[in-house]
């Protein structure tokens, strides 16, 4: 079988990672780990509130004797637990959105880029129509239509993302389609399916991966923006976005509510962004091939 050189080359490249890339990778892994272990470390139950413990600064001791290292929120919940739980939601929303949007984008982008003609016409026009709405507006409209729920947020965001992925994939498919090595496969008599799978697809994946990485971060931010407008995940589920959004009224008085999830969000998104850059640098020479 054909072996993807990228896959082979990457571990080698990772060994010579610059410092900031290692930090970024470490941060992301740490967060993912914390997200997985969160329920064990500091269980969070949205339905458990303690009004007497509200708005306590970091390090305060709660009425039940536990220390809230990151303080408490406006209903007296431990921010640390909320941030850990929120990460699971935010990461899930972002990842599922990107996977769903990415898959749809990949499929349609491949079709449009490889076959061109009317397939490209239809897919590109649909993309154009959709891009005519700035994506946040579309998400607002959809989230408004569907009502707040995690699934709906994912749908709303994925719908706004697929075009981006489709365009990236279409672009690389288009670029590869007329390359001579594809021509030489055609001359050899290869079928469309074979060309798509073994020639076009591998070339489309690296840029798609880069785009996906970037979008994971941006999707997390978009989720937060939807929460700000009251269109995010429902109150029964903690998410970074909604915690920051709820903490915004307390930025001047109880800054710790928005600060912890805000810092976490920024850290993760920046780290992912750095990794995306790295990936782009790593795959660039290859996509040039």
């Amino acid at each position: 079988m054909s072996v993807n050189t990228e896959v082979r080359a990457l571990p080698g490249r990772l060994r010579v990672l610059p410092l900031r890339a290692r930090l970024a990778l470490g941060t992301v892994l740490l967060f993912v780990l914390a997200g997985l272990l969160g329920p064990l470390l500091a269980p969070f139950d949205a339905a458990r509130t303690s009004p007497v413990d509200r708005l306590l600064p970091p390090g305060s001791r709660l009425s039940d004797g536990v220390v809230a290292w990151l303080g408490t929120n406006q209903v007296g919940q431990d921010i640390l637990a909320e941030v850990l739980a929120g990460m699971r939601t935010s990461l899930t929303v972002a990842l599922v959105t990107v996977v769903v949007g990415g898959s749809v984008g990949l499929l349609l982008g491949l079709l449009a880029g490889y076959f061109g003609g009317w397939a490209d016409g239809i897919i590109s026009r649909i993309g154009d129509i959709q891009l005519a709405f700035p994506s946040l507006l579309l998400a607002i409209l959809l989230a408004g239509v569907l009502g707040p729920s995690m699934v709906n947020v994912i749908i709303a965001l994925a719908v706004t993302r697929w075009v981006i992925f489709a365009r990236v994939v279409r672009g690389s498919a288009l670029a590869v389609r007329d390359r001579e090595f594809v021509d030489s496969a055609r001359v050899m008599g290869a079928s469309h399916a074979r060309i798509l799978l073994t020639y076009i697809l591998p070339s489309c994946l690296p840029p798609l991966l880069v785009a996906a990485t970037v979008q994971v971060g941006l999707t997390m931010v978009a989720e937060a923006s939807l929460s700000f407008l009251g269109l995010g995940v429902p109150a029964s589920q903690a998410s970074w976005g909604s915690t920051i959004a709820e903490g915004r009224d307390y930025l001047a008085s109880a800054w710790w509510i928005a600060a912890a999830p805000g810092a976490a969000l920024a850290l993760v998104v920046v780290s992912i962004g750095i990794l995306g850059d790295l990936l782009r640098d790593a795959s660039d020479p290859m996509t040039e091939l």
């Binding site: 026009r125 649909i126 129509i129 408004g144 239509v145 923006s225 700000f228 959004a245």
Partner: protein
């Protein structure tokens, strides 16, 4: 050129039609109906029914759809029940402020973006460059509303040097425009940086040096101009983001833009306004991109390549 413009215009019309249809479908499947919101919680079922019929909500969907299309073509979206005026008027009076704000944000983005981008490019791969690239990522990593509120707290509440609400004066638009622009300054900066570095490797730069031109002339006269080309195509997109992200900024800085009107109108099922707003935004956006396409020709003469 005419053939191209014709095709591009047809494409734009198609886009507008598609957008209108999406909006129509989305609104009809929304739960909740305007009659209830208009009449409030104490309305009688009969009154609701009469009002629904009056609003045309009882017609078959397809009839509603064609009515709607006709309405759009004649620029008659109907009355806003919340404001008691024509939906188009309600929308148009918000368009101005949105465009003003977006334009300022654009100016800030371009100025800062080019400044940081060329700064980073000239110091490519130094710590200054890395700092710029990381801080540009931070700009995109923070939710815009958070940036807005923080700017407002710092400059309006604590330092008290800028107003917290926008009243249209230039000073008052500074914070909202900055809030809109910040996430994209880094983005544009990175784009500019890559563009410059890419251009710097072009053969013509070598020629320019061989001609004995100074670094300054090579950079500002030869290189920068060519990096504009890919950047300009992004500006149309950017304007779209500004119009959309405006929603958040408008709420924070109490600026009467089109975005908050949209969110309100969705909440209150003011269909006429939602339709008018989305149509207007779409048209603006499409026209803008058309403009960018045309601008492109003037910036990049290569595009006329095949013109025999």
């Amino acid at each position: 050129m005419t053939a191209f413009l014709g095709r591009r215009l047809a494409q734009a019309l198609l886009q507008i039609w598609g957008a209108i249809t999406i909006v129509f479908i989305a609104l009809r499947v929304l739960p909740g109906d305007p009659a209830e919101l208009i009449l409030g919680s104490q309305a009688t079922p009969e009154a609701l029914e009469t009002l629904r019929a009056q609003l045309g909500l009882r017609d078959p969907l397809i009839v509603q759809y064609f009515d709607h299309l006709r309405a759009v073509v004649t620029l008659d979206f109907g009355q806003s029940w919340r404001q008691g005026v024509s939906a188009l008027d309600a929308t148009m009076e918000r368009l101005g402020p949105t465009l003003t704000l977006s334009a300022w944000a654009m100016v800030i983005t371009i100025l800062l973006g080019f400044a940081t981008g060329s700064f980073a490019a000239r110091r490519a791969n130094t710590w200054a460059d890395h700092l710029v690239s990381v801080s540009s990522l931070v700009g995109q990593a923070l939710p815009p509303f958070w940036i807005g509120i923080m700017l407002s707290l710092i400059f309006a509440r604590w330092l008290q040097i800028l107003p917290s609400t926008a009243d249209g004066s230039m000073v008052s638009l500074l914070l909202p425009a900055l809030t809109l622009a910040l996430p994209f300054v880094g983005w544009l900066g990175r784009l500019v940086r890559t563009g410059i570095l890419e251009e710097m490797n072009q053969d013509y730069v070598r020629t320019a040096h061989a001609k004995g031109l100074s670094h300054r002339v090579v950079f500002y006269v030869h290189v920068l101009r060519n990096t504009l080309v890919p950047v300009v195509t992004m500006l149309g997109l950017l304007m779209g983001y500004f119009i959309a992200n405006g929603v958040i900024v408008e709420v924070i800085f109490a600026w009467p833009g089109i975005g908050s009107l949209l969110v309100d109108s969705i909440t209150f099922r003011d269909y006429a306004v939602v339709e008018a707003v989305l149509t207007v935004i779409t048209v603006c956006y499409i026209l803008l991109n058309l403009l960018v396409d045309v601008l492109y020709v003037y910036l990049d003469p290569r595009i006329q390549l095949e013109n025999a």
